[in-house]
């Protein structure tokens, strides 16, 4: 079995894995980082979004071996070490931007990447930025409000 050397949430990981292991399965099944969800098998829902070298990717559509030598960041790393919520998490809570919460980890990671690229997105830009994330219960209105509010807090 090939050996994978990568970093997950800042910690070095060295593991023998099957070449066919998906990044999401490495995270969930082997590293027990179960915050990253799987909501589909067609690469469409975005519940599995993590950051690979700072860019949002669908971890169900990346082989774990493609993360060799790279930095993977998951939802578990979004809040501060002392548990202080990220402004996006705070805003999602305040604006009721989640209901069942299944899509939320992917939404948050997608939104965090969006705000890295664009600290002051318009409503249309937030909606375009979330084209790869599907929510089946809350609806998108509150998510968009939360992202714009978080962006404002983060710019302050």
């Amino acid at each position: 079995m090939p050996t994978l050397n990568t970093r997950v949430n800042g910690t070095s990981v060295s593991k023998q894995i099957e070449a066919s292991t998906l990044l999401v399965d490495l995270l969930r099944d082997q590293l027990h980082l179960t915050g990253t969800h799987v909501g589909c098998d067609t690469s469409q829902c975005g519940a599995c979004v993590v950051h690979l070298d700072g860019r949002a990717v669908k971890s169900c559509t990346v082989l774990a071996l493609q993360a060799e030598g790279r930095d993977v960041t998951t939802i578990e790393n979004l809040a501060a070490a002392d548990g202080t919520l990220h402004p996006l998490q705070e805003a999602f809570r305040k604006h009721h931007a989640l209901q069942c919460g299944f899509c939320t980890p992917g939404m948050l990671m997608a939104c965090a990447a969006l705000l890295d690229d664009n600290p002051d997105p318009s409503e249309a830009e937030v909606r375009a930025g979330l084209e790869g994330n599907i929510c089946r219960c809350t609806g998108y209105q509150n998510i968009v409000s939360a992202v714009r509010d978080a962006a404002k807090q983060m710019r302050a």
Partner: protein, 270 residues
Amino acid sequence: MYAFNYQCPQALAEAVSAFTAADDATWLAGGQTLVPVLKQHLAMPSDLIDLASIAELKGISVAGNRLSIGAMTCHAEVAGSPHVRGHIPALAELAGMIGDPHVRNRGTLGGSIANNDPAADYPAALLALDAVVHTNKRQIAADAFFTDLFETALDEGELILRVDFPLADKAAYEKFANPASRYAVVGVFAACTGNVSRIAVTGAGPCVFRADAMEQALNSSFTAAAIAGITADPEGLNSDMHASAVYRAHLIGVLAGRAINAANARGNGQ
């Protein structure tokens, strides 16, 4: 999934020999088509040869009147590139309309055209801009590259290195996107250089094609008015749950008109 071998060669020659040595190898670019295909066992290659570390497949450059984009360049990089935005803004816009941000961070130019999905965006740009595909064996004009549904002129194991796009005087892409997948229900790329116009249509048929009658009408005047009387023939176009062939034929005319207007609004020098 199923068991396969994975290699990530650091050099072009090494990649080619790894491909040849394997039983049944497949190139792996960003995996945005291939990984779903493997998951569903629609293909079961014995070996994946990852192209991610090969320098020759990377980068965007401009020389003379050609914009050159490496096969492994992801859609987000094309969409954000000052070279592409400055020289062929329609191409940057097209790349920015592919799928969603996460797909654009992984999906590549080479993977998209090698796959030749009938609803993919890049094939329309290559065809309308009269681009040339450079492989490890030869150069292939876009007109000869896209041959049929998910089929290209590539031989088994032939590797796309880069695509050279001639700089058009004016160009624009208009797509009627499927709201769920973002793939093109119909997409039309219009380009004009000197008095030569090229109109390429994706999404509508089994494979990207040029709208010959429109091109002829446009050669004397690159305006939406020049094609106003031309209707596309629904015969042979795709008909599915998203749109009928008749509706797709109608969209070709609408989107071609919009693309020509957008190209003219952008004007010479873009």
